[in-house]
Point group: C2
Chain length 364, copies 2
């Protein structure tokens, strides 16, 4: 049972605040409700009076009367991923500058938890939602469609979801991957490992089976794989299924996959990692194989960090514009809360390729 | 203006769900309300019926009638810090296992934002709050006391705040630091840099001035500094203000401070870093000084990560039990929501000292 709460102390009313401030009730209501124009001088007096009396706007009551709670809801797949932490910061900074608070729920990449989270945000009467969804298939988006059908603006971030005519704010995953892999190919590499592809139960041997599996996994993963394939195609390098990791995505599995690729008779000379744990796993495998980078094997990773820059040699990385991604998603959502019609467009932001010292010319 | 919302479609009632499931209304209400006992079999039937009919519990209405919203609020100083991301995960995993959702707000270490966040959580009718507070002084805790005085259970995490008789769940900052610094002293080091101490405006020359400044900064920072001083005291090593960084806490400042300490006539031979950005800054300074670790200078840092383990040589680090810290805070809060009286105790969890290869015996 819940402890008894003391709800008996009556909070001050807007009229009492207005009297204390010596202003009209309408000015006090506009100031405390955060709508309409109030002169800076009056506004200041109202806020001081409100503070003195301990007035706390009942956002819930305000929400019920005005339909706006000045709160955005954010659902991210994994708040423990520095990428999502950065996006979260971008969203909350931007929304705060417009007078909106952001409440966050993390789903651990679990679709069931995501469904619950959408329900929680509806119950909390958010004005709109930004979702980095774990959904990949048509049948998995009913909870998002449900929110939309209830008139709640929804914007997707990081991950587009097919079958949903919503605005999404994403990065150029495919082009970023193509550019990184081409960078190695231009330096003589033809055997380039891809860490990591879609996780599959049975080993995959054909390119068609791989892209089919990718289309059943997260949109970002599929795009990054396609960028890798684009670079091979551009250079006329045949696809080799042995060079794509398809085990579940853990650092340990990345270590094992890279060790296997380094032990091939025709071994890899370059490694492209699409996530941080893939890169740390690859580094472990390179070291325990007794090889050095970049002399023996070249490395490029996704998601720059201060650690990547202080590795010795420092790592060539793809930097995602996390803050900008969040800010753009918040801006798009606030437009819709203000009444704009969703465009259903994909807003694509550019990544930055940071060349450091983990790629070397390959001389067979 | 907000877009019009369609609230006209009447949602199914509990009675309709009960009829669909073929169970009594009380069983349906208990299942959907998340209280009391319902047999697994009946529960399953009710949930299936609820899903079929598209029933969504109105948590708000439930909250108003029962006083429990089954939502915890979490306020963290910086969600972009992997440490807080881990703590957040620990809290949400534990609370979810008890049927509570967790909504998160991040304050960017800004006390004003923290005050707003407490207000948002009260408006959202959370059943309790967990706060990693940016407050350090007696005059800065009124917003927390305000929540407590309204009967809302509050537990502090990571950072104890003096003057508040609340339960707090923290790590053994002082002992962890003492042990790390002693580890270097036992290997012959006597000149050990501390990155980073309290940021001050004027240079500090005495130990008394330093500890006074630390008492005006975050509790964790003060504790870590005291652990450093404890280790020096244990070994009879005199305090030297030149070896404590007191600039604002950025990677750039850490690089400059370590470069300065390495250029001293009687230079440092060991560096203890209390945060990740301090460590990456120190690594930059070591490298640009043309020195190697651990041969020329030893290194220990706070907050282990997968990157620290793949550095070459791998770094000796202090690992914080982030998930456990979060779980314990959630457990303590849920006890209070269930009616337990706050103990006002500090619950201290142990860190783990992970010895790798960044500390060497010092031979002058």
């Amino acid at each position: 049972m819940a402890a008894e709460r003391d709800r008996s102390v009556a909070p001050p009313t807007i009229s009492e605040v207005a009297a204390e401030a010596g202003v009209g009730r309408a000015s006090a209501a506009r100031t405390l409700g955060g709508y309409g124009y109030v002169s800076p001088e009056l506004r200041e007096r109202v806020l001081q009076a409100a503070e003195k009396l301990g007035y706390r706007a009942n956002a819930l009551a305000r929400s019920m009367s005005t339909g706006v709670s000045h709160t955005l809801g954010l659902i991210v797949a994994d708040i423990g991923n520095p990428f999502f932490a950065g996006v979260t910061r971008g969203i909350s900074d931007f929304s705060r500058s417009r007078g909106f608070d952001t409440i966050v729920l993390s789903t651990h990449e679990d679709l069931e938890e995501e469904k619950v989270a959408v329900g929680v945000l509806m119950d909390k009467r958010v004005d709109g939602m930004i979702i980095a969804s774990a959904a990949v298939a048509r049948g998995e988006v009913a909870h998002i469609q449900d929110a939309v059908s209830r008139g709640i603006p929804v914007v997707l971030v990081d991950r587009a979801v097919e079958h949903l005519a919503l605005d999404s704010v994403v990065i150029d995953n495919r082009e970023a991957s193509r550019r990184a892999v081409s960078h190695m190919i231009e330096r003589g590499h033809r055997r380039i490992g891809f860490i990591w592809g879609p996780a599959v139960k049975k080993p995959i041997t054909t390119r068609r089976a791989l892209t089919a599996a990718a289309s059943q996994s997260l949109w970002t993963d599929g795009e990054r794989l396609n960028g890798y394939l684009d670079a091979l195609d551009d250079a006329g390098i045949p696809f080799d299924a042995d060079l794509v990791m398809t085990e579940p995505k853990t650092e340990e599995n990345a270590t094992a996959a890279v060790a296997r690729m380094l032990a091939l008779e025709n071994r890899i000379t370059g490694i492209f990692c699409t996530e941080t744990d893939g890169m740390t796993g690859a580094l472990r495998a390179v070291r325990s194989s007794g090889l050095r980078y970049p002399a023996d094997v070249s490395l490029i990773g996704f998601d720059d960090s201060s650690w990547a820059a202080v590795m010795d040699p420092p790592l060539t990385m793809i930097e995602q514009p996390m803050l900008e991604l969040g800010a753009r998603a918040a801006e798009t959502l606030l437009h819709q809360i203000d009444g704009a019609t969703p465009s259903g467009k994909m807003h694509t932001l550019e990544t930055r390729f940071i060349e450091r010292a983990s790629v070397a010319q390959w001389r067979p």
